[in-house]
Amino acid sequence: MNPTNEQLVSLFERMTLIRLMEERLRADAGAGRLPGAVHLYIGQEAVAAGVCANLDETDWITSTHRGHGHFLAKGGDPKAMMAEIWGKRTGICKGMGGSMHVADLSKGILGANGIVGGGFAIATGAALSAKLSGNRRVAVAFFGDGAANQGVFMECLNVSTLWQLPLVFVCEYNHFCEFTPTVTVTAGEIADRARAFKIPCEVVDGNDVVAVWKAAAQAIEWARSGKGPAFIEAQTYRIQGHLESEDLFLAGGKYREKQEIEEWRKADPISRLAKLLVSMGVRTAVQLDDISTKIAGIVEDAVRFAEASEPADPELTFEVMFAGQKP
């Protein structure tokens, strides 16, 4: 099955939204306007967009410290995300969580996560809940190639296979764990770890949104129909630093070559999709530019909203710590 032309256009829109939000965050982080640390998703947009386009609003996802793309792809509100990162009370988590913790339960977004590998078991638990209640929901665990070395990954492969849970593992192989190239700390192929459990497994070009979309459609259908977990490894590349202001931490140290980044820029997932849409005659280059301009407006609105919002309410810290209980 292939995405329809209109589905391709909406993938383009979603990926462009993620890109422009991230570009704006990059600029604002660089200018010192944002609290905390931001880990950007630039270059990986096809993965979140291609997977989430196959999910219903009621399906669940768990995300990572690099979670803005997953949040937006799953239907999270750009304004509420931006305000969160700005530390404002109108933020999706009321300024309590920030960039690494954007979550929207009403959209099935169980949250970005500051703990590498923190999402695996949460997604597995959500899949258990879906299975027990028979509601045909699916849980997707997004995780990095680095997270694949946490033991909990194996534990979740095991329990989800054993109990045939509706769970899709999506590994984003972006080649780095902070400043450590993944190959230097990883034995064998990550996908083989899933294969050992006889989990259906696809390794795809993660910068080709059509390939991601097709693999996700299959994997999600498999999980939803009660056959158990599925696994996707999307090969992609982190264009930005591990976090903005990475150079400060590196203090002159180096873990990759500039040229490698430039090579990967040529495989940019959004340009590739744009080229495809034009060559198929689905949209003209001018029409795509119009879409991008419209989306730039959405991003601009989100920033304006964030800037104009009140800072977080410090007293809320005490109110939300527990449900109906004082800390």
Binding site: G114, I115, V116, G253, M321
Partner: protein
Amino acid sequence: MPRKRYIQAINEALFEEMERDPKVIVFGEDVELAIFGDTRGLLERFGHDRIRNTPICEATLAGMAVGAAVTGYHVVLHMMFSNFIYTGFDAIANQMAKLRLMTGGQIELPLTVIAGYGGGRSTAAQHSDTPHPLLMNLGGVNVLVPATPADAKGLLKQAIRTKNPSFFLEASGRGGDSGEVPDGDYTVPFGRAAIARAGADITMVAIGSMLKPALSAAEKLNLAGIDAEVVDPRTLVPLDEQTIVGSIEKTGRAILVDEARDRCSAASHIAAIIADKAFSSLKAPIKRVTVPNVSMPYAPNAESRVLPSEDRIVQIATDLVRSKQLA
């Protein structure tokens, strides 16, 4: 004495100890390029057998530290942010802290765990904890909380020469602070508090990161005619009860400043000791300045609402000295 940055003092201690003893090895995530700067340059000097990047797998790293230490190495395990101690906690709480007793004292565990702790930089709840109370409660591990560059160097060198496991907790925000560091080889013994400032009216016991605000609070109080003594315990396990109690016997008033959450904090432990051993000297209730029992919020204004501040210390100290009331 030359002035050095806190992080540089730690780096020097590692260089000197690795130079001194070929059995000292360092491992952890991203220690080669040194995300905090404390392990910078070690790879170039000592090579891959002595220092290496690991996969992201804290549960295993903590267990491996135990295994390599039991069998003859002095392991320095760098766990980056102290929240990741939780990810490795099973081997810490069930193995590291207990093996010596369970084997009837057969084994020695010369190992040092380094981790940065504390909030104040909007890194949100999963990167801001101050977990020394949890470690203190284990019983079988030393807990070191150096506040100055000199103590950081001396305590780390002492830890690396000790046959027992030690947690060396770096005050994250203080990496850039400078102070005088003695030349040449020296160590700081465990269980010996420092009087950071002598005074007559009130005793502040300031733990790790809290030494800085406590000292500046003391200066402010001085202008208001209150002469505060500031005690830096430097190590929490073992704890120098004598110096703390001696100071209270002199001043009759105690404020305990701790960045841990209040419940079962080091501050509450020290309060219990004072109540027990210096009760008759007390002229006022023992006060704790701690983080309330909440997770660290992200937004800067919410974060400063919960972190102990110079102002809060000054306020409480003033009330304590001015009030004629006895407990």
